[in-house]
């Protein structure tokens, strides 16, 4: 997956976790927590959805990398480069 495909995938996951959030105005540089109503259970769901959909394993120590869209995509790029978008 390329950078923009990973971004699309994360948006899709966010939409499934928080269907009522308006994601069209999401600022990629700003922490999710500061612009969306996400709690620690929702962050676990981002990790779990990535595992369910793409078998990407994220160790608990790395959860902090998922703070914003930019940091998430940067973190996931090497892990998801060989995954073919369905």
């Amino acid at each position: 997956m390329q950078t923009d495909e990973i971004r699309e995938e994360i948006l899709d996951i966010l939409e499934s976790i928080a269907p009522d959030e308006d994601l069209s105005t999401l600022d990629d540089a700003v922490n999710f927590r500061d612009q969306l109503e996400l709690d620690s259970m929702d962050f676990l769901d981002i990790v779990m959805e990535l595992r369910k959909r793409h078998r990407v394993q994220i160790p608990e120590d790395d959860y902090v990398e998922l703070a914003s869209m930019n940091s998430t995509v940067t973190y996931l790029e090497p892990l998801m480069k060989d995954i073919v978008k369905a």
Partner: protein, 459 residues
Amino acid sequence: MYDTIIIGAGMSGLAAGIRLAYYDQRVCILEKHTTIGGLNSFYRMRGRDYDVGLHALTNITPKGTKRGPLARLLKQLRISRDDLQISPQLGSDIVFPGVRLRFNNDFELLRSEIAREFPGQIDNFERVVSEIVEYDDLDDTHQAISARDKLNQLISEPLLIEMFFCPLMFYGSAREHDMDWGQFSIMFRSIFMEGLGRPYAGVRLILKHLVRKFRGLGGELKLRTGVERLAVDNGHVCGVVLENGEEIQGRRILSSAGWPETMRMCDDGDPVTSRSPGRLSFCETIATLDVQPQELGHRSTITFFNDSEEFHWTKPDEPVDVRSGVICSPNNFDYGESLLDEGTMRITALANFDYWNALDEHEYNMEKLRWYDRITDSAVRFVPDYRHHVLDTDMFTPTTVVRFTGHDGGAIYGTPDKQIDGRTHLDNLFVCGTDQGFVGIVGSIVSGISMANMHCLRD
């Protein structure tokens, strides 16, 4: 080999099952009883549908609210708010001699009622509210301080303190005489600051929805399947032996059977972690009426009553403590155009398990009739007298609670000492549900979700 075996198909077990099955685990829920639900269940008798447990769902926030336990539960289980078809209460009250405090799902009503009945306490009340708002229920540090001490510091009118304790203890205190401040805060928010609601079809709608979801995700549910024991080897559960003799394996076990009940299943001898069972149990009467309660002038959804200035939250010496109680009319929710076919009045009161458990079948049936009348006589001091409109009645006692929940002593809210982190002395056995810490339907579901997330998903 299952990834997770869950003991108990109540609200918490089903919710945990949905979480785990959604993330592709092999999950099996074992239910001892012939039906699902545990404490919150339903049955049909002489052609009528009855609910047990549920009076109302707490934590009812307006649709679209993004914070709070209800929003969290819907998100975590991928359930739409519309699927639960929750109708809000019409309005409830707390009645003590000479004082009535009304409340509904708009917190301003309770504020104005306190300003009217206790004008000298309104500033103190605001201080209580601001402390409650600050309490963080996701924080692991359980605030095990006395709610009574805390309220005595903040409020100088003892009657008002008793009037807060009455509904909050009835709806979820396993501890006698007092509550933990954390538990008090959670309950206060869930009942007064969020609100009460109910699906038109009652608790069966919620349970059936949860089961359908669980099965749809590939989860297995086995009814009439009690656990005989958990085979323990070297600090680890290595097998679940069922009452039918079969043995099944799971990588981990999540038990909603209750703390002492779960510990007793472990075959590693007397566990170091034993603790006393809860002592608080209920009787509940149910009357079906030939009129809607509103036609008798009864508009209240839930009435919490107490007949003196002091509220006693303790195991009664009498078979039933009729000094206080909860009167619930499921008709009095805002179902829009729909009305329930018949009127229903349910009355819940504290009861003594040992007394009811010692009766033989004949005495038991006679005592049920006797105490049905006493409980009803007590309640009609606080609501319109409906005794001439009764078509049919039923009643549960502490022994009924045992039959539905398996909890020792019919302990309605489990043991007073909760295991907030859900851990046990065994590395792959965890507890959820009543004895983990949250009560009520929303609380139980959140308990199942939290324990599944914390202990069963991250490996």
